[in-house]
Symmetry: C2
Subunit: 506 residues, 2 copies
């Protein structure tokens, strides 16, 4: 096997997708498992992606009138019990604090001491504690709408964890809003869903399908759950964000009431919505290839890496100067709401190894500069959306002047590619036999690869949905907003149904 | 008592300082106690101050080469035990997770279930868990320095809590760095201290004294602890940030070793440093007055509030238009690294009540606009650093053009005022009798108000320091960097000593 044909990541996607994912995360130095079961460490390159996600979403939340606040990490055990479905959904997987200190025994061994009167739960989500506070904040219709968001960590005691996709502790934002009417609350729920969808597409270059969940996948305590669903390269769906219309369920369990303009006491209507560090997992699985991470420029921690090539000691200083100037010129170029971000990699390391380290990290553009490039006033450019060896010499001024449009072009290409992939692996299904065939793995070597997204009529019978989930490990991802009013016969029963999206999922 | 002479806050500072503080927090709607003992809720206006603190500090950390990462919330109990002083310092006040789910009994009552093999501690600080990870990340001198920061929540089970100043859960940043030499690590520790001090003065208008802690106040496990200390208006000191040189203590307990360029295996040298939401408490107590919060413009969530005054229905629309234009004009004015931030308060509320709500929230500039102001092309302006009734008419264009310099002037005034207050209440102490007199409350009605900061010679004997702390509730806040090389006789013993800062403290 020639060196050129080797890939940076082993195994490749078609060989073992889950293992490929772990290896991409490792090769890009995004995150790693910690000594605490199920809890990950987010490393600088991975955390910088999360910061970019945060910055843009936070901007959009504020632009639409939401304000950030911070609520306690702990929730008294009794609070969880106030909403019946909610406790059912979360009691089985929560970290319980029972003591307030440690005491050493005679041998110096530590033991929990200072038992609490009431155990505390580390928040798995904050509806109950926030509801308690909102019941005090909201008194009159003048206090509504109340539009709050929180950036926080949450804990759900997951049995099988996977970096970014499912971890015991994860970072997220949770929006919580209170409204005077059901219509307003529903409008909020849908507006947030649109923000999530637009952000996913325009920043992460991750196309998503927006739609409503069936009862089986609804948030515990919600009347309606909307979600964005994205197709990964193993053709499974990733639920990448949810927005819940909570009706009056939490308003009633937390007593969130307001005096209407007519002087009537009314229960309010609430919503909650969130995206998490899972988005980073979705980003990885949407774009990365067998050489590692691929980052859409709008979400990349840095856009360009400059790699000086200094084979001769006598020209070394000049090359480094040339690179420094280049860096300054690039950093003066506007991109998005800021400027082009540049890494200058002068580590003492072989050039090939260095370039590969950046390919694996997914940086959009690599620039190599050696003595000859310097003499000809040019740079040697590699793009992450082309093959590693496909590099081009280009005049420095031309490169600098065109960098922003190059990055936007790459952004567009990645979105188009992801859309094409999803289109190629979405099929209209018209019979049960076709359904079964579609979801049966086609690649003997890799049991993960199957048909993809199935769009089809379904009667939405809960028992039938459960049976399909058990037998085929396929679930209704959503009733897409785009087709929610279509009436089509159910593929399984022939009864009147809705056009839904079935898929295997994370 | 005439209405003009009343204050918005009761009691006033000289009557009951601690209660005044709580009332300022409440009147400004910054935070409140939650149903979880010792945990606060940070409300939008308070959280926006914290976001401004975060943004500027984060910029400075990144500018000096630090990268953000995220580490687990939980720490295995055994980790805490690795460093002897460290466990001693934190075991008495930590939340202990012992179970991983809840189970309902026959009556539906919940109980902790799924006991963990090893209890987990909710991080009170992260040296031990980060040390464990760093021991894998650091292999060779090429990996050094390793400069990491984390923005996170931490939990210390405090018995007596006070909003922002001391809460069971709080938000902070914790920097953790690894270096090849003691000199480099010490340099880092001091550089961070300088960042903290400069930030406190130039953004929060809170003058601080930088210096080294004596052994009694050192971080558990540190060789040297530096701190910034600020004087509050009750003349007590607030420790507002700390930077620790950890020597090789944690490197040895966590096995952080590196291969030197000479091929020798060496223990590394580490530092840690942090500031927290306590800074918001310091901000409140430095500037606020008997009418509520006073915010330095550089840290204020908004700089100007526009209050339309619409006594007549027929001119209402025109006034609102005039105000909207004014808002746009103001928001186009550059301030700091962004623009002037403006609130437009068109709530249905009496004008006086509305203006007072903003005075209590500490917004730097209030602009009232009524029909007559509109006709004369002017605005009616109140400054938070002047008396509430002291308002001035000014031509609109002149006001808009001068807003940025007005805000900078107010920023400078607040810093100068705080410096003058500290200077007025700092005294050179030369005898034990003078020391006792200085720290004895002078205002019979308010036991909190005493002399202030004492600068004096001290032999730094630990037992003597402990006795003074017990008898007078006065401690060495620091050995100021500015006077660390001064040799002065100890006021208590006459022995050779250092010039230290004694004060009562939070």
């Amino acid at each position: 096997m020639s060196k050129q044909a080797q890939t940076a990541i082993t195994p490749i996607r078609t060989e073992d997708y889950p293992e490929w994912y772990q290896q991409v995360v490792k090769a890009a130095d995004l995150a790693e498992n910690s000594p605490v079961r199920g809890c990950m460490v987010i490393k600088p390159w991975g955390y910088a992606i999360w910061e970019n996600i945060q910055r843009e979403l936070d901007r959009r939340f504020k632009e639409t009138g939401h304000k950030n606040a911070y609520f306690p990490l702990f929730i008294p055990m009794s609070f969880l019990q106030k909403e019946a479905d909610h406790v059912e959904g979360f009691a089985k997987e929560c970290a319980v604090v029972t003591h307030s200190r440690l005491e050493a025994d005679a041998e110096g061994k530590l033991h929990p001491a200072g038992p609490l009167d009431e155990p505390l739960i580390v928040r798995p989500t904050s509806e109950t504690i926030i509801g308690e506070l909102f019941s005090k904040w909201v008194q009159s219709y003048r206090d509504l709408p109340l539009l709050i968001n929180q950036w926080a960590n949450v804990v759900r005691w997951e049995m099988r964890t996977r970096l970014f996709l499912r971890t015991t502790e994860f970072l997220w934002q949770e929006g919580h809003t209170v409204h005077a009417t059901a219509e307003e609350a529903l409008e909020e729920t849908r507006m947030i869903l649109d923000i999530y969808a637009d952000f996913a597409e325009s920043y992460m270059a991750m196309p998503v399908i927006t739609g409503e969940k069936t009862e089986a996948e609804r948030f515990p305590g919600a009347d309606v759950t909307y979600a964005i669903e994205a197709m990964m390269q193993d053709r499974k769906a990733l639920q990448a964000g949810t927005s819940h219309f909570l009706g009056q369920n939490f308003a009633k369990s937390s007593q969130i009431k307001y005096l209407s303009s007519e002087g009537q006491e009314e229960y309010a209507w609430t919503t909650s919505w969130g995206v998490s560090t899972r988005l980073v997992g979705g980003l990885i699985m949407t774009h990365s290839d067998d050489d590692g991470l691929v980052l859409p420029p709008r979400i990349a921690p840095a856009h360009v890496v400059i790699i000086p090539v200094t084979p001769k000691e006598e020209s070394r200083a000049a090359v480094l100067d040339y690179c420094s100037e280049l860096k300054q010129e690039l950093e003066a170029q506007p991109f998005l709401d800021g400027h082009v971000k540049v890494e200058f990699d002068d580590r003492d390391m072989r050039g090939g190894e260095k370039a590969w380290s950046w390919i694996k990290k997914g940086i959009p553009v690599r620039v190599e500069v050696g003595p000859r490039d310097m003499e000809s006033g040019s740079v040697f450019v590699g793009r992450r959306d082309r093959a590693p060896k496909d590099k081009q010499g280009i005049q420095r001024a031309e490169f600098v002047g065109g960098i922003a449009s190059l990055l936007e072009e790459m952004q567009d290409n990645l979105l188009a590619k992801a859309k094409a992939y999803r289109k190629a692996h979405t099929r209209e299904i018209t019979s049960e036999a076709e359904f079964i065939e579609f979801f049966t793995p086609q690649n003997k070597g890799n049991p993960e690869i199957h048909g993809g997204f199935a769009t089809m009529g379904f009667c939405c019978d809960a028992a039938l949905e459960e049976r399909i989930a058990k037998e085929h490990k396929v679930t209704v991802r959503c009733i897409p907003n785009a087709t929610q009013h279509e009436e089509v016969p159910c593929v399984f029963t022939g009864k009147p149904g809705k056009r839904v999206l079935f898929a295997k999922s994370y």
